[in-house]
Symmetry: C3
Subunit: 211 residues, 3 copies
């Protein structure tokens, strides 16, 4: 679980750092935002579970991996790498981080004896927390609230981990099933450009009349 | 207190979900923002008091009520319901949620043995926390900082609950007095359109000269 | 350490309140934002260290000092005090608050037995936390992520406190060395207008072609 956590930290750090670079932050801002995005979800998880100081703030490897991964965003873009590629890199890194963090977050909550409903919620918050911090700090509406299907894969995956826990599956199988299903659902949603349904035209009339 | 808490959860969920619908979020964004607005204050309260995992994340009813109430915002608006009605619905739901959360938050803090100053602060933060999260996530300056008198009723109500606690009033009386006074003050402020005083013209000169 | 903490609270309250006044908030918004900016870092520190309820929410002096310092921002600006003076006041108050909070935050973490890496991180988060809350609530990109060198002095100072702890320096010496070095580095960065390096032209091409 430690290794999975580190991979999640690295991909979320890339997602935060690339978003920060797009917002024209300086190198410290990029590294700080990368680290916050990478460790934010785990800190939220540990605070909710009463694990203090948060485990991600107690171990060098997390910080080191987050910092180094953030520096990747500082590499000058190769010729031909367009904004579109950058945007997609953030989306895919974010999807992988989501998958890993939701599953390890849910499993950590079960490990400290939380009931299933708490474990699922904590898992989802572990997954989306870092990205929400990243988007709020860059003054963007968080991706989890925005157009794309984002919350649904996380919730589905957390429930799958809870089901595996309830059925006493071996933990690696449970974690793998959860992570793969989240990543697959999220990447599918990105690929198909699926938006979740929106409420019927509430403000449209105003927009139509131009006021 | 559980029932009051659930009603507070429901009205805050409506306030968050309607605000999310106005911001044109999709159905998942609406439900997620409704749930965050509804449960955010209680989670902040429990984190500050060291109650982990937060009680609002441990029980199905909270989540269920928050989710269902959020879906209300998805109901197509009836003919004649204007933006103004929507705006007022958010304001009134927010005032009721504030009243219920401040009083139950203050009482919860006393129940775990916090001193009076902590209880008042935790109560106010329980009341305003969910709304602040809602506004920050939608990139708006939080209502509590903005024009209207918002913090004052919360602070007054929390002190009333503290006074009731100190005078050993029966708890239902204390809670009712606190909640009614907060809701009354807040609704009065909305109705009279009262703004709190602002500092004297600091940036006005620039605005007058047009630069 | 209590006195240093109170001075840090006062200067951060001024920094938050002046920023709120610049954003044309009313008097309650100004005081609330001043108090949040002043106490936010300490609350984050205590939550991360598992000290609940947070010590800054348990003692009247903190609140009183934060509230009174916030009211300073409401004093009508003297003739000749320009926006530039206001802006610099916020920057300098923020630098002093950063210096005091990073050092006391790091020392508090050591006092509860945290390892060095945690102590440094908690110290930095104590220092930048209040300012980040202030900027997020006013819908600005946090200063810590923005142009100026901000994170570096905090990180350097926290490490200096850790070094002093490791070398068993007397605590007042350690705290003074940490605070002075942070304030000096930060004020130097403000005075020289030094920006940290930014990544090479990633989005510039778009800007150059005007699209």
């Amino acid at each position: 679980m430690f290794i999975l956590d580190l991979i999640g930290v690295a991909v979320f750090a890339v997602s935060g750092a690339v978003a920060a670079a797009r917002a024209r932050l300086d190198v410290f801002g990029i590294v700080v935002l990368g680290v916050i995005t990478a460790l934010g979800g785990g800190v939220i998880r540990d605070l909710l579970l009463g694990i203090t100081p948060p485990s991600t703030l107690r171990q060098w490897p997390y910080l080191l991996v987050a910092g180094l991964a953030s520096l990747l965003a500082w590499i000058p873009p190769a010729k031909g790498r367009s904004r579109e590629v950058t945007r997609r890199t953030v989306l895919v890194a974010d999807a992988l981080g989501l998958a890993l963090f939701v599953t390890t977050g849910t499993a950590t909550a079960f490990a400290v004896g939380a009931p299933a409903v708490t474990a699922c919620l904590v898992g989802v918050l572990t997954g989306v927390g870092g990205g929400v911090l990243r988007d709020v700090l860059l003054r963007e509406i968080p991706m989890v609230l925005h157009r794309d299907i984002y919350a649904l894969p996380a919730i589905a995956g957390a429930h799958l981990v809870a089901a595996g826990h309830w059925l006493s599956w071996p933990e690696p199988v449970t974690l793998a099933a959860g992570a793969v299903s989240i990543a697959a659902l999220r990447l599918l949603a990105i690929w198909r450009g699926r938006d979740a349904p929106r409420p019927p035209e509430r403000t449209q009339p105003d927009e139509l009349t131009g006021h």
